[in-house]
């Protein structure tokens, strides 16, 4: 029954992916789309480093440079890192808890298409009069005065993709609470599932402030409201608050799943259970909680006063404690283990010192008084690239290598994987380590060029050379993906040989119903336990029976596309274009019409019959 086993035409495969509600296929869609945007954002990074390689460079103009840095940040955070993390959540989390799908498969597909259309909309700005240029934070005092439609693309594109993320978060929360297999108690959940859980809670409470901020900005720019216009009583600081009340939890939304992926990798390749499991869970929840208490540390220089700055400084430093707990637990997991130096393990081991460096500069930045010196310099740039690249991007690379066989049924080449690792790892430190010093020497961020002889020349050249190494690493990875996909050597259930959790107990890729019979979970690292007892697979928790599955649907695509169309209407309506209003109405009709259709048309799904499941077993099909 597996789609990979059947030969299908291109059209049928395309239609399959456009209408799928299967979490494993949606994961592949997230991986492809997120990977695409990662390449786009990476290209923008390369342009930035070319422009800054030498002083007084004119590779791009000042205005275009602003567009490139804005789009680099926005693309990397919203359209690359988040969807790539979502790809692994979708691919792995339901398998880890022993579920047949997520709680709302339809909503899962809708979430993907909203993200996808939002991202496409945002990037179309390049071809339609210029990209947003007010920075990824889009502070109102800049954004309101930005000419053209760049910032409108930002507002509407992020709004659409933000809704997709929000419903994705709700979906994962309900899945984890309601759909765990028998015996899978909360304290037996793999750490990646735990981080998905806490991340989803963060998404649920962090995205609405962004939604509101974007709505207010949209009203100001497109419909004549005055939220951020001081001459009419408005206040631009409101945007800063709303943005960072979202923005700070957002960085934990990115890093917690990364912690989760590494917490899977360390035990697998140390062949030893995760050290301090319950303290890891506790630290994850605590980081999630504290993540909401620290947003104003992005606004130390806004002028909130010494009391506010002091409170937020202390709260920020407190986050170092649970994060430190995690670092020590990872180290102690390796301690005395029988460590296998695979590609994912390379990334995991490189992650610890890299991320730690970013954490240490984080504590430095948290000192409000000292922050006045670091603020808006390359020191900050170095800091957040150390945590986001050294944390999230490393985790995405590690996760790609680790879960590639589970998602596609074939392994990535280990030699090429290690070449990618070394190129990227060296390039990363070459690019960003020196930026700490550039910042301390006084180079401000977001400048499009600098004068010669200020002491910035050599350091910027080093930084740009590092970026080239990272680019090469990514190219090797793409080559790796292509050649291994062409060879397509099939692998079994547990290709790494030391899988501990439920996803490694079923075929790679899993059949579309995941588990023929729901597994009985007898403890933490459920599959490892069974292996240690000399069993080949999981003990089923139920007799073989009919399996209820959801129907595919094209409506998620339609709903998201409707908003995409409506966004064009809303945007061009300020130019008094006659077609703008009708386009907006048509777009909204498509969306609400699809919602109406979904509401009135019953969809009970279908059943896979017991007999068919048994047939497959007889024929020996690796379903």
């Amino acid at each position: 029954m597996s789609t990979y086993a059947q030969k299908k035409g291109f059209g049928a495969t395309l239609w399959d992916f456009l209408t799928t509600v299967d979490h494993k296929k949606i994961a592949i869609l997230y991986l492809i789309a997120g990977g695409f945007f990662f390449l786009v954002g990476g290209l923008e990074a390369v342009f930035i480093r070319i422009q800054l390689a030498v002083p007084n460079n004119d590779f791009v103009s000042a205005g275009l440079f602003n567009e490139i840095i804005t789009m680099h940040g926005t693309t990397m955070i919203f359209l690359a890192a988040m969807p790539l993390v979502f790809a692994f959540m979708n691919a792995v989390m339901p398998l880890q808890i022993g579920a047949r799908d997520v709680a709302f498969p339809f909503v899962n597909a809708l979430g993907f298409w909203l993200f996808f259309f939002g991202g496409i909309f945002l990037n179309l700005s390049w071809f339609l009069g210029g990209a947003p240029d007010a920075g990824w934070t889009s502070y109102a005092s800049l954004a309101l005065h930005s000419k053209g439609h760049g910032v409108d693309f930002y507002i509407l594109g992020l709004q659409i993709s933000g809704i997709g993320t929000l419903i994705g978060g709700i979906n994962f929360l309900v899945t984890i609470i309601n759909m765990r297999a028998p015996g899978m108690t909360y304290m037996r959940m793999p750490l990646f599932t735990w981080t998905t859980f806490v991340t989803s809670a963060l998404i649920l409470f962090a995205f609405p402030p962004l939604t509101v901020g974007l709505v207010l900005m949209m009203f100001d720019r497109l419909f004549g409201a005055n939220f951020f216009d001081p001459t009419l009583g408005g206040n631009t600081v409101i945007w800063e608050h709303l943005f960072w009340i979202f923005g700070h939890p957002e960085v934990y939304i990115l890093i917690l799943p990364a912690f989760g992926i590494f917490s899977e990798i360390f035990p697998i390749f140390s062949r030893k259970r995760l050290f301090g499991y319950s303290s890891m869970v506790f630290a994850t929840v605590l980081i999630g909680f504290l993540g909401f208490m620290v947003w104003a540390h992005h606004m130390f220089t806004t002028g909130l006063g010494p009391v506010a700055n002091a409170i937020f400084a202390v709260a920020t430093m407190a986050i170092g404690v649970p994060t430190g707990i995690k670092i020590f637990n990872w180290l102690l997991t390796m301690w005395g283990g029988s460590v296998k130096f695979t590609t994912p393990m390379h990334w995991a081991m490189a992650f610890i010192p890299s991320f730690l460096a970013g954490g240490v500069t984080g504590v430095m930045l948290a000192s409000a008084a000292a922050d006045y010196q670091y603020h808006d310099t390359y020191f900050v740039v170095a800091h957040f690239h150390y945590v986001i690249v050294g944390g999230v991007v490393f985790a995405v690379f590690a996760g790609t290598h680790l879960y590639w066989p589970k998602m596609f049924g074939t392994m990535l080449n280990e030699v090429l994987g290690k070449i990618t690792f070394w190129l990227f790892f060296i390039g990363f430190h070459l690019t960003f380590f020196i930026q700490h010093f550039l910042g301390l020497w006084g180079m401000p961020r977001r400048v499009f060029t600098y004068l010669p002889g200020q002491g910035f020349d050599a350091a910027n050249m080093v930084s740009s050379i590092g970026a080239a190494f990272m680019g090469l690493g990514v190219i090797v990875m793409l080559y790796n993906i292509i050649i291994t996909s062409v060879k397509n050597v099939k692998v079994g259930n547990d290709p790494w040989g030391d899988g501990r959790t439920l996803e490694w107990a079923i075929p790679s890729p899993p059949p579309f119903y995941n588990f023929k019979q729901l597994p009985l979970v007898r403890g933490l690292d459920a599959y490892w336990l069974e292996k240690m007892d000399g069993k080949k697979g999981m003990t089923p928790a139920e007799p073989l029976g009919d399996i209820h599955m959801p129907n595919s649907s094209f409506l998620p695509f339609m709903m998201a596309m409707g908003l995409f169309i409506a966004a064009f209407g809303a945007m061009y309506h300020v130019n008094d274009k006659a077609w703008a209003l009708p386009v907006m109405i048509i777009g909204l009709l498509v969306t609400f019409g699809s919602m109406f259709l979904r509401s009135v048309k019953d969809d009970h799904g279908f059943h896979i019959h017991k007999e068919d499941l048994m047939d497959e077993e007889d024929k020996g099909v690796k379903a």
Binding site: V107, I170, V174, F207, F223, N226, L232, G233, L242
Partner: protein
């Protein structure tokens, strides 16, 4: 229990809104959705409080010049009563009394429509007094907060009517019972939000 099974009063489960896995998921997911909505409205309230009475010149109306308690009091009563009628509707849903449920739901929609009508009337009054969406930051914040709530009421009305019309011929089953139930949750939520709007915007606007 299957979603498309036929029921009688005797076989109808005690908690029909969460007796299948699908409906349990829907029930929980909707509560989470309301959690997100709470943060959404909290952000709008915070924005309103920051921009209350922030106008460009002394000729603009402030909160205390604009609001009239009798009008908003009637509106409040309509919406609070509609919450009560939706409780009755759910009571009858749990007792497998489809017709009675529909009557009370109809009443809920009617009261909601009355509330919405009063809100539109109220907005036109303010617009004639020069307090518009674009006249000041105060105006933008006021219409955005109250308008977002009004939009939620309007969406709820469409939702309620769609549910009633779609299910008018087929009675209750475990497929549509959770749909009715989450609608009533939603309706309570917008009622609670209104209680805060009435307090923070109108009462505090009159005295503060």
């Amino acid at each position: 229990m299957h979603a498309d099974e036929k029921f009688t009063y005797e076989t109808w489960p005690a908690a029909p809104e969460k007796s299948t896995l699908e409906s349990k998921n829907k029930f929980l997911g909707f509560w989470f959705f309301l959690g997100g909505e709470t943060v959404l409205f909290a952000s709008l309230f915070a924005t309103y409080l920051a921009l209350k009475d922030k106008v460009p010149s002394t000729t603009h109306h402030l909160a205390k010049d604009l609001f009239e308690l009798p009008l908003t009091f009637v509106a409040t009563m309509l919406l609070l009563t509609s919450s009560l009628t939706s409780v009755y509707a759910m009571y009858h849903m749990k007792n497998f009394a489809f017709k009675k449920m529909m009557v009370w739901l109809g009443l809920t929609a009617l009261l909601g429509a009355g509330f919405l009508g009063l809100e539109v009337y109220e907005f036109t009054l303010y617009v004639h007094e020069g307090h518009t969406f674009t006249s000041s930051a105060f105006g933008s914040a006021f219409y955005t907060l109250v308008g977002f709530h009004g939009g939620h009421v309007a969406f709820g009305l469409l939702w309620c009517l769609t549910l009633m019309i779609r299910n008018s011929k087929r009675g209750l089953d475990l497929y549509n019972a959770p749909k009715f139930y989450v609608f009533s949750l939603y309706w309570h939520f917008i009622d609670v939000v209104w209680v805060f709007i009435f307090t923070v915007v109108y009462l505090m606007g009159m005295v503060g």
